[in-house]
């Protein structure tokens, strides 16, 4: 029982307890620095846990909450994948809060600041529970906190559009959590377990005997549809553009980079740990995920082409990149999951950088979000221009940046996977082309010298957002360069996630 066994519990409880403790603080700087300190501690503990797991004999460990073992009491479980993901998400949260701090100070009214940062801490802790939990109903409970906190920070800006975006987001994601709860009810009805490992034994027994066939197919479909709605895969994405388009900078970065991914990690754990790869192969849901991913990749990029508002364009490109991730999951092989995991990391880092840079562009252009008004803005705000360039290139898939290895591994996963090789590779190429089609022209507009608007010099970006952008660029390049060790760790992690 070494020290690092307690880290998952500390990572979860620290932001939760702090969210209650920061009630008395009122001033913006202390609140932001406390929340960032908490997120930094979570990131540091996760990477320490990751390092100690790397060279520990056992691949994963379970942390028993309370004095009763698994099927009776609650349990957390930490392995390589959970450690990497919680570390990456905590870092992205840290940089997004730091990067968007200036906009939050302006948009969130003084009376409501400490409530905003309470919600940021609750978001952090519920995200960590979604990653580390080994119990499906605990996943549901903290999924609700995650949704309420995301809606609360989304509407902290209190303009007409954000409130309408929040209602739309909430209606959609309520349907998602209801389907999730219904599939928990069905799963409990047939297996009698709420924890993932005991449920897997019972489901494996049923799969061989061919018992309860339709309820099992129903539960895995309801789980997937719930996560599709919450992570805005194409047919269920209608809430995303309003939510990400109108929120403040740090909230858009957090929503796009981190909130969407927490549910995908939960679905990955459900598929691998509750059903297992071979049972979910037989159940036949994986091709559906694969085809929905393809649809979302192409349609997301097509719609993003038509957008004039910079933040809505980036939001639609999030829908496309969620499609990549679900395409990777749809292969239902360990390498497919590893490629999807890699793209989760790459997308989290590049997307939050794009949103912070876009926030700075909008501020320099005096608050207007239309791309025509932002022509030549990268000349004025050089650092944000470089950050936007790096983020866009990495999402297109240019080598040396984070997007390239993940798309490359998605293609190799398609080649290794038997069925549907050529469609996947073709659609990957088409959607990469579409990505380029809407990112390159915007980049040209931003960096163009002629007919650049004259921007009033009253907006001076603060130092912390510059630091955040520089660190995100470094992280992006690191992800783009060190892909060989990373993909092997991801593969090893996913093979033991079950």
């Amino acid at each position: 029982m070494q020290l690092y066994h307690h880290f998952p519990f500390i990572i979860i409880m620290l932001p939760m307890v702090m969210s209650v403790l920061i009630l008395p603080f009122k001033n913006e700087i202390t609140l932001r620095s406390i929340s960032m300190l908490i997120q930094a501690i979570c990131a540091a503990l996760s990477f320490w846990l990751f390092a100690s797991l790397l060279n520990s004999p056992v691949e994963y460990f379970t942390y028993q909450l309370g004095s009763f073992p698994a099927p009776w009491g609650n349990e957390l479980r930490a392995g390589l994948i959970e450690a990497i993901m919680s570390g990456a998400f905590a870092t992205v949260l840290f940089f997004s809060t730091m990067g968007g701090g200036q906009d939050t100070a302006r948009d969130v009214k003084p009376g409501k600041r400490h409530y905003f940062y309470i919600m940021i801490n609750l978001l952090t802790s519920s995200l960590m529970v979604l990653i580390y939990t080994n119990d499906i109903f605990t996943g549901y409970v903290f999924m609700e906190i995650h949704m309420l906190a995301a809606c609360a920070i989304l509407m902290a800006k209190e303009s007409g559009e954000t409130i309408k975006a929040t209602i739309k987001y909430m209606c959609m994601s309520i349907v998602g959590s209801m389907l999730f709860l219904l599939s928990i009810a069905f799963l409990y009805g047939i297996t009698g377990h709420l924890l993932m490992e005991p449920a897997k034994i019972v489901i494996a027994r049923f799969a061989e005997a061919g018992l309860y066939w339709i309820p099992m197919v129903l539960t895995i479909t309801l789980f997937s549809i719930a996560v599709f709605i919450k992570s805005s895969l194409l047919p269920f994405h209608t809430w995303l553009p309003d939510a990400h388009g109108y929120a403040t900078t740090s909230v858009s970065a957090i929503l796009s980079g981190v909130v969407l991914k927490g549910y995908v990690i939960l679905l990955l754990k459900l598929i691998i740990r509750v059903y297992g790869i071979d049972v979910s192969d037989i159940l036949g849901i994986m091709p559906a995920i694969f085809w929905l991913g393809l649809l979302s990749m192409t349609m997301g990029s097509l719609i993003a082409l038509t957008q004039k508002d910079i933040k809505r364009m980036i939001a639609y490109s999030s829908v496309a990149h969620i499609g990549y991730i679900f395409m990777g999951i749809g292969f239902n092989t360990i390498f497919g999951f590893a490629a999807a995991g890699y793209h989760i990391l790459a997308h989290a880092f590049s997307k939050s950088m794009l949103f912070i840079a876009a926030g700075r562009f909008i501020n320099t252009a005096g608050g207007s979000k239309n791309i025509p008004d932002l022509v030549g803005v990268a000349r004025k705000d050089k650092l944000a221009g470089v950050a936007f360039l790096v983020g866009a290139l990495s999402l297109i898939g240019i080598p040396l940046f984070a997007g390239f290895p993940s798309k490359f591994y998605l293609a190799t996963a398609a080649v290794r996977e038997g069925q549907g090789i050529w469609i996947a590779v073709i659609v990957l190429a088409v959607s990469t082309l579409l990505n380029a089609l809407y990112y390159i022209p915007t980049l040209q507009k931003f960096f163009s010298r002629d007919n650049a608007q004259e921007f009033s010099a009253d907006y001076v970006p603060d130092k912390s957002s510059s630091i955040a952008l520089v660190c995100l660029i470094i992280a992006n390049i690191f992800l783009g360069v060190s892909y060989i060790p990373l993909i092997s760790i991801l593969e090893r992690g996913f093979s033991f996630l079950g």
Partner: protein, 354 residues
């Protein structure tokens, strides 16, 4: 009640607005006018952004409503300094504006109609399909109430057979909630906390409580009856709360009863009386203390349990009041969180101010 008049004619009024050309006086139009102007210079439509202190002074008690005063659209700026005189260019701008709006409305109306029909069709088919699939899956599920169904496995047997000796509580449901699966209830208390903070962010007006609301004194009969009943409700709530581990009830239902007793008292005797006892600050502080108590005490027993030690908390003899080990204090803290959240929600929704 505006929605009370059936939606039909309200919607017709709206449809005539959509078709009407000159008459732009209806309320929806006011909002549209709001949106056009604000959107043009693309400041997001912040009705509440002018948080200059003056807004609180202009408030008179009787129209102290949630944000309605901030939202007032001042026509004088739009139509020149006094509303009578409109100079030429403003009139021209207005005419051009309404002409463009006519063209726009036709496009909007058709698009709206098609999406309406399409949307209803999709959701009808969707729900019938889902219910059909669910009933199909249900037909394969184990029978209702038969003892041999898979849910009666070793998990259920241990909860019933060794529930009392493990946790010392005779009400097994309370034992599960507060001892076997206490992490869910921790999440539960934090869901309530998040909802309360979310509602505070949304509904609480920023003018603080220096406004003494004009209290409508309730009829004597109501006040007298409430004076008679509320002690019994409080005793009943406290009984349910404290005996959560012995009889059905526990933190949630006991807290809800106490919360509704507080709200009942606030309804009849005016929120001001309750506010002297339980101001906004004490409400938040007591909820935080209860949450911290739960998190720290239960966190201690999680960490001890995880590292295999036995937490030295005596379980007491099952059956009497202080017998459930940690269950009774946890019940009290969850009860406090639920009671004050319920009262807070009542106060926020009724006056926008706890």
């Amino acid at each position: 009640m505006p929605e009370a008049k059936n939606d039909k004619n309200k919607f017709d009024k709206f449809v005539n607005w959509v078709n009407a050309d000159e008459d732009i006086s209806s309320r929806e139009e006011e909002n549209i006018a709001d949106d056009d102007n604000d959107n043009r210079n693309d400041k997001s439509r912040d009705h509440f952004d002018n948080d200059s202190p003056s807004i609180c002074d202009r408030l008179e008690p009787e129209d102290f409503h949630m944000g309605v005063v901030d939202e007032e659209f001042d026509y004088s700026e739009m139509f020149g300094d006094d509303s009578g005189r409109i100079d030429q260019d403003q009139a021209a701008a207005l005419a051009e504006n309404s002409a463009r709006r006519v063209v726009l409305r036709k496009g909007v109306r058709d698009r709206f109609r098609t999406t309406q029909v399409f949307f209803t069709l999709v959701s009808v088919l969707l729900t019938i399909g889902i219910v059909g699939v669910l009933l199909l899956a249900l037909s394969q599920m184990p029978q209702f109430g038969d003892p041999a169904s898979p849910t009666n496995n070793e998990v259920y047997e241990r909860y019933v057979q060794r529930g009392v000796e493990d946790t010392g509580a005779t009400n097994i449901v309370a034992a599960i909630i507060l001892d076997y699966r206490a992490f869910d209830t921790l999440g539960e208390a934090f869901v309530l906390f998040t909802a309360l903070i979310g509602v505070i962010m949304l509904v609480r007006t920023s003018c603080g409580s220096q406004f003494i609301l004009v209290e409508r004194t309730q009829p004597l009969m109501l006040r007298f009856m409430i004076m008679l009943i509320s002690p019994f409700i409080l005793i009943y709530g406290i009984y349910i709360l404290l005996n959560g581990h012995l009889t059905p009830g526990g933190g949630f239902s006991g807290g809800a009863i106490l919360g509704s007793a507080l709200s009942l008292y606030a309804i009849s005797f005016g929120a001001q009386k309750v506010r002297t006892l339980l101001s906004f600050k004490t409400l938040l502080i007591s909820i935080s203390i209860a949450l911290l108590f739960y998190a720290i005490v239960k966190g201690y027993s999680f960490v001890i349990g995880a590292s295999g030690l036995s937490s030295g908390i005596p379980l007491g003899t099952p059956g009497n009041l202080f017998s459930g080990g940690l269950i009774v204090p946890l019940n009290i803290s969850v009860g406090i969180v639920v009671a004050f959240t319920v009262y807070g929600l009542y106060a926020l929704f009724s006056e926008g101010e706890v």
